[in-house]
């Protein structure tokens, strides 16, 4: 007996066949011992499944059951947001990092570039002095202790600087 006939016998037992097909299968089951045995086995199985199925009943109403699930979901959401506010949730750190870390890193990089590119506030020391007259000469003093630079213009006929060696980096007149 092929599988198609086996399925037809099963469908016949479940009353799923048309009247014509049901009559054909009934004839087959009556005349064929193999078909008869299969039908008997399937019928027995059907009776034992139907007869021994456990009846499950929900101990509460449908509305109450779903409202419990809804309350549980809302409770979980509240707990998560409280933990985030208190900073205890590991997810809150990742959320913070996702929001702030990339922009802050970008800003830090920009500031670093600006520090490198921007002109430094401590420019290298520069000094250049000129006199319009050949009779006037100049001495350039620096006193690191008092942070003073002195540009002294003098007539070459008389130099009032009495002790230029006492100050560092003195350019003595020629």
């Amino acid at each position: 007996m092929n599988i198609e006939l086996e399925l037809k016998i099963q469908a016949w037992l479940d009353n799923e066949l048309s009247a014509k097909e049901a009559a054909e299968v009934a004839t087959l089951v009556a005349t064929n011992t193999e078909a008869q045995a299969l039908a008997a086995e399937l019928k027995s199985l059907k009776i034992s499944v139907h007869g021994n199925e456990l009846a499950l009943t929900v101990p509460e109403s449908r509305e109450f059951h779903w409202s419990k699930i809804e309350r549980a979901i809302l409770q979980a959401e509240k707990s998560e947001s409280r933990a985030e506010a208190a900073g205890f949730s590991p997810f809150s750190f990742f959320a913070w990092a996702r929001n702030w870390l990339a922009p802050v890193a970008g800003l830090a990089a920009l500031v670093a570039v600006l520090i490198v590119v921007a002109p430094s506030s401590s420019e290298p020391e520069y000094s250049e002095t000129e006199t319009p007259s050949e009779d006037v000469d100049v001495i350039h003093f620096k006193d690191p202790a008092s942070r003073m630079t002195i540009i002294w213009f003098y007539d070459q006929s008389g130099n009032p600087v009495q002790n230029p060696g006492s100050i560092d980096n003195v350019e003595k007149p020629e």
Binding site: S122, E123, E125, V136, T149
Partner: protein, 166 residues
């Protein structure tokens, strides 16, 4: 409305504002040099040559005394000058003494030093904060004139900006 507020205060928006603000501050640095200028007399007289000149700070006087022969140093009233970039400012310190200051940028300042109508000399120097730049020469009656300049300390400059003089 809520969306607008959230967008404005979002991290990216805050960072974008900072990005716009930082370069403008850096680029706007040092447009004006605030310089204080004073005239100092060097003399051997124990008495001030002018009523409005007072004995100068002993530490600074000692710096001058170590190198110049005059024993007494008197300073006049300090003047504060704002030197915009590439603009000359004349600062009259006495009837026969003035300087012309020019801010060359990058903390460089050009000083032209005049006595009477004669330009004695010109000097270009960097003027770092808290440093003095002094130009000087012999004056009539064998005394000396010094013009001392330095950047106005940052705190004082900020205070003056907040409380402009009437």
């Amino acid at each position: 409305m809520n969306v607008l507020i959230r967008t404005f205060f979002s991290p990216l928006a805050v960072v974008a504002l900072l990005v716009l603000a930082v370069p403008s501050r850096v680029l706007a640095a040092e447009p004006i040099l605030n310089v204080e200028v004073r005239l100092v007399w060097g003399t051997d007289d124990a008495k001030s040559p002018h009523a409005d000149f007072k004995k100068m700070d002993p530490k600074l006087a000692e710096t001058l005394r170590r190198s110049f022969r005059w024993t007494e140093y008197y300073e006049g009233k300090m003047q504060k000058v704002q030197a915009p970039s590439e603009t000359s400012q004349r600062v009259t310190l006495a009837d026969d003494c003035y300087v012309e200051l020019k801010n060359l940028g990058k903390s460089k300042i050009e000083v032209k030093y005049f006595t009477g109508t004669k330009q004695i000399g010109k000097t270009v120097n960097t003027l770092p904060p808290q440093n003095w730049l002094t130009v000087g020469s012999v004056d009539k009656s064998n005394s000396a004139k010094f013009v001392m300049m330095r950047l106005v300390p940052e705190k004082a400059a900020k205070k003056e900006t907040k409380e402009p003089k009437n």
